[in-house]
Symmetry: C2
Subunit: 337 residues, 2 copies
DNA sequence: TTTGTTTATGACAGCGTTGTCATTAAACTA
DNA sequence: TAGTTTAATGACAACGCTGTCATAAACAAA
């Protein structure tokens, strides 16, 4: 037999409405009453029915995780973090993988929100950086948090969790410079991703800070893919004046670069140092293991969800949350001989 | 304004109950009536409220995907497949990552099912192979599908989707034999995973079929991890009589073996051929790219979900569904010189 | 036809909550 | 103290659907 709110009310000798107030943390309940109710709920091992709650209220007690990201590890980590917070706070998670590049992606998302009556959205790149989408969501009063690349200073729309790619990129470049490298090439990620730009700018800034001039030949356009790393490294290896280090915008690119160097018989790290970004599990499984930067994806997800749920409950908290990916030195880099 | 069942009923000039019948595919509705209703639903772009449905009925219209698997790619593919079918059939998906090794895993799952009132479960290895769990689920009348390693002949409990690892393993081994290899080592996966056993048996059977004796030194215990591949390959390379090919039970092990060989300066595939299993994305990103076996994970997920939802609707279909992973020849194998 | 039988459809209560508004109790104020 | 304001609590309808049971329509057999 399922325990309902009435049993709890009876047990606590209050009305069901008061129990409801306690469940939803509504103000205007005396502490003593609240305690009684909480106790009754525990004694009866009561859990409110999600279905009844969402039917009766305008909320659905569900949030959506919408993503378009080929990196399964990232998604799983995010998802697990979101799920943790959802469980704690009695919310459900609706997963919505999608393709950010289809023309009607915005409609698709708005439709989903409307249909499922989602209380909020967790958005990751590149969706979190789609200005048009953000605009429409705000217009329709949809609540959301965005995980985006940036330093948390700028006036971004909506609540944001900032990932300071630039600082991490600066640190990586600085590290290479300290190893004595001066000819450091950079293979870019997708130009539409803000992280790509931020990472490039961090690289640029670090070079500048050490007075090293930027060599245009060493900056290769690309996207966040293995193939891009292969192509990028190939063209770098074709240069008369070759770089001594390659900074790949993410681990996949780095793996591709590694692959291309291997094909060419170039020793890593003896002849060229390579660094990646993201700390994908496979960055530990290449040979040699990749030096890279790690971001605490699950913590990011938790913070994001926390922020979102506060918003959903109209507890506006305007704090700036920023994460700094951390340099992880492994075996694909060494001091310039 | 949200469209409800009453609007549809009005539009189709029938009672709401009849609309309900159509929604749930209940028998006893004349075809003409059904058409009218379907048409009205489309015209109004109607979607039933999950909350109301589950409140009113004993079902929740939610199924659970419970997994413990470190392979993010596998999980994402499964999840996407399940999600596709859920959307089609108006079900919701509840994701539940867990640790299959905690002592009270069975209670945890039973509790989840009870609490969320899940209509069914999709189970993947190793949970799908936990006899105790299966037993308890059957006892409590919980519906489920199991994705398991096997050939679909055995009398397994519950509905199963079989992955014929053995046949694929046989094919891989046969392929190595055809390349002229006779000294083929095998690095095992987790002994608790049925797939591990099946893969080993396929290997054994293939050797036998070609009259090649099994060399005990060449069979290395392990688990499905990179580290295990490193260790396994190291001990193989330490043998006085070395293998000319290594069959790793999955791509992670293969990547580890590759890594160990590189460390030792052993050329792949010139000196040793290596094959993996699973076709993880990173098997395309190693150098050289791994020869492996691919399973259509998303299709597997769809079949499984389909089967589960039929069960949920009490449409018992007792068909045997089997998938055969397919050999993918890439660059980590070559004919014995 | 008429009656009986089956099949298709509808009326209505109820699922477990929340929102609204009324009521009561408590806390001030003069 | 009585009167007034404020805080705490409760009664009850409503949310959108399904289950049960009653009724109407269609068909078959006489």
């Amino acid at each position: 037999m399922k325990i309902t709110i009435s049993e709890v009310a009876e047990h606590a000798k209050v009305s069901i409405k008061t129990v409801s107030r306690v469940i939803n943390n509504e103000p205007g309940v005396r502490q003593a009453t609240k305690d009684k109710v909480t106790e009754a709920m525990q004694a009866l091992n009561y859990r409110p029915s999600q279905a009844a709650r969402s039917l009766a209220s305008t909320q659905s007690f569900q949030i959506g995780f919408i993503y378009d990201n080929p990196n399964a590890y990232y998604i799983i980590d995010m998802q697990n973090g979101i799920l943790d917070v959802c469980r704690e706070q009695n919310f459900e998670l609706v997963i919505h993988p999608c393709d950010a590049k289809v023309p009607n992606i915005i409609e698709e998302i708005l439709f989903l929100v409307k249909r499922t009556n989602l209380d909020g959205l967790v958005l990751t790149p590149p969706l979190s950086e789609n200005q048009q989408l953000i605009f429409e969501l705000q217009k329709k009063n949809v609540k959301f948090v965005r995980v985006i690349s940036g330093a948390g200073k700028q006036e971004d729309a909506g609540q944001c969790i900032y990932i300071n790619d630039r600082a991490a990129s600066f640190a990586i470049t600085e590290y290479l410079l300290e190893l004595g490298h001066r000819d450091i090439a950079f293979i870019c990620g997708d130009p539409e991703h803000m992280s790509s730009i931020e990472r490039f700018e961090g690289y640029q800034a670090a070079l500048k800070s050490k007075g090293v001039a930027l060599n245009g030949d060493f900056v290769i356009d690309g996207e966040y893919s293995f193939e891009s790393g292969v192509q990028g490294a190939k063209s770098l290896l074709g240069l008369k004046h070759k770089p001594t280090a390659i900074f790949a915008s993410n681990d996949e690119i780095a793996a591709g670069a590694l692959f291309a160097c291997r094909l060419d018989g170039v020793g890593i790290p003896e002849q060229i140092s390579i660094v990646g970004f993201e700390n994908s599990p496979f960055s530990r499984q290449t040979w040699p293991k990749l030096t890279t930067a790690a971001q605490p994806t699950k913590s990011i997800a938790k913070s994001a969800t926390d922020l979102l749920l506060k918003q959903v409950r109209n507890q506006k908290v305007q704090q700036v949350i920023e994460f700094n990916p951390e340099l992880l030195v492994r075996d694909s880099t060494q001091a310039l001989q």
